[in-house]
Amino acid sequence: MPSRVEFREDRCKGCLLCTEVCPTGIIQQSSRFNQKGYKVVEITPEAMKECKGCAFCAMMCPDFCINVFTTKQAKGGKK
């Protein structure tokens, strides 16, 4: 089941608490700066395929800037 993580880069303060709790370790600090001058975190498109949608990162984030989406099978569907 592919999952997706969205970061609100304008809110990220680059504390990196999310990088440590991610069980797959796919969150990294990028080289981009946001408007406030913090280096934001990112997940590369290839690494995103490993995301399990556990939302540990969102639970840890003190600035509420992570949104996690996951896909779910509709009722009755086989695939």
Binding site: K13, G14, G53, F56, V68, F69, Q73, A74
Partner: protein, 253 residues
């Protein structure tokens, strides 16, 4: 057929506004836990927040609740007045350790001893954060701050105060627990504790108290990740986590 669903649901009480806290500060997580607990219990329309002085002074900007800002340390006194005037409302205070354990010690002790039916969320980061990192009553022995540059010394300044243990020993207290928010497991436990504290107020059992161990990376002179580790290695051994008083649990036994 598949459909995309959103895993994270931030409660509406939490306003969509960037916080003024330093990177890695646990105040944001504590705000979210309070917001989630109030939303889960359906208390949004009847909660009154009593703010305190400290870094959390602007909490009324981040939680869209009716709020009163109280003088330094006097949040429990203001909350007492509010609760006695409007007993149908849910009243809670959100205080830091410089506010609650130092200047507000008398207020919190007598408020707890009288068994006022309010909830106190106490965020303990072992330092005065807002004013620039001075020593607080909860500063750990050996910790360097701007007013004890050689580290807190037991002979001169005494030992750090364990607030939850003191509060739990008072008569009017219904619930006292110490939690941390340094990892996902502890955050889950913290959410349960905060929810329980509000639940006890709705049941009118007495004073409920939750201490949240938090970091202050700026005034500890550490990175957020190092500060998070310090909670585990230095704070939790001195401030043990767990429940210290629960009136309902006693009745069950």
């Amino acid at each position: 057929m598949t459909q995309e669903i959103r895993v994270t649901n931030y409660p509406e009480v939490l306003t969509d506004r960037p916080t003024h806290y330093c990177p890695g500060c646990h105040h944001g997580t504590a705000h979210r836990l309070v917001a989630e607990a109030i939303t889960d219990l359906g208390l949004v329309d009847k909660s009154i927040l009593i703010g305190s002085i400290g870094c959390s002074v602007f909490i009324y900007n981040y939680l869209s609740l009716d709020a009163i800002e109280s003088p330094h340390g006097r949040a429990p006194a203001v909350a007492t007045g509010v609760k006695r005037a409007r007993p149908d409302k849910i009243v809670f205070t959100y205080q830091g350790d410089g506010d609650l354990a130092s200047i507000g010690m008398a207020e919190i002790m007598h408020c707890a001893n009288r068994g006022e039916n309010i909830t106190t969320i106490f965020v303990n980061n072992t330092v005065y954060g807002m004013t620039g990192g001075q020593m607080a009553p909860t500063t750990l022995v050996g910790q360097k701050t701007t007013t004890c540059p050689g580290g807190r010394c037991r002979e001169n300044e005494g030992m750090p105060i364990r607030m939850t243990e003191i509060i739990a020993s008072l008569g009017g207290v219904a619930y006292a627990e110490r939690v941390a928010v340094n990892n996902v497991k502890n955050i889950m436990k913290a959410k349960k504790a905060v929810t329980k504290a509000f639940e006890y107020q709705t049941k009118e059992l007495g004073f409920s108290f939750v201490e949240i161990l938090a970091t202050c990376p700026t005034n500890w002179h550490m990175t957020p990740l190092q500060a998070n580790k310090r909670v585990e290695t230095e704070m939790i051994p001195y401030f043990p986590l767990g429940n210290f008083k629960d009136v309902l649990a006693k009745e069950e036994k």
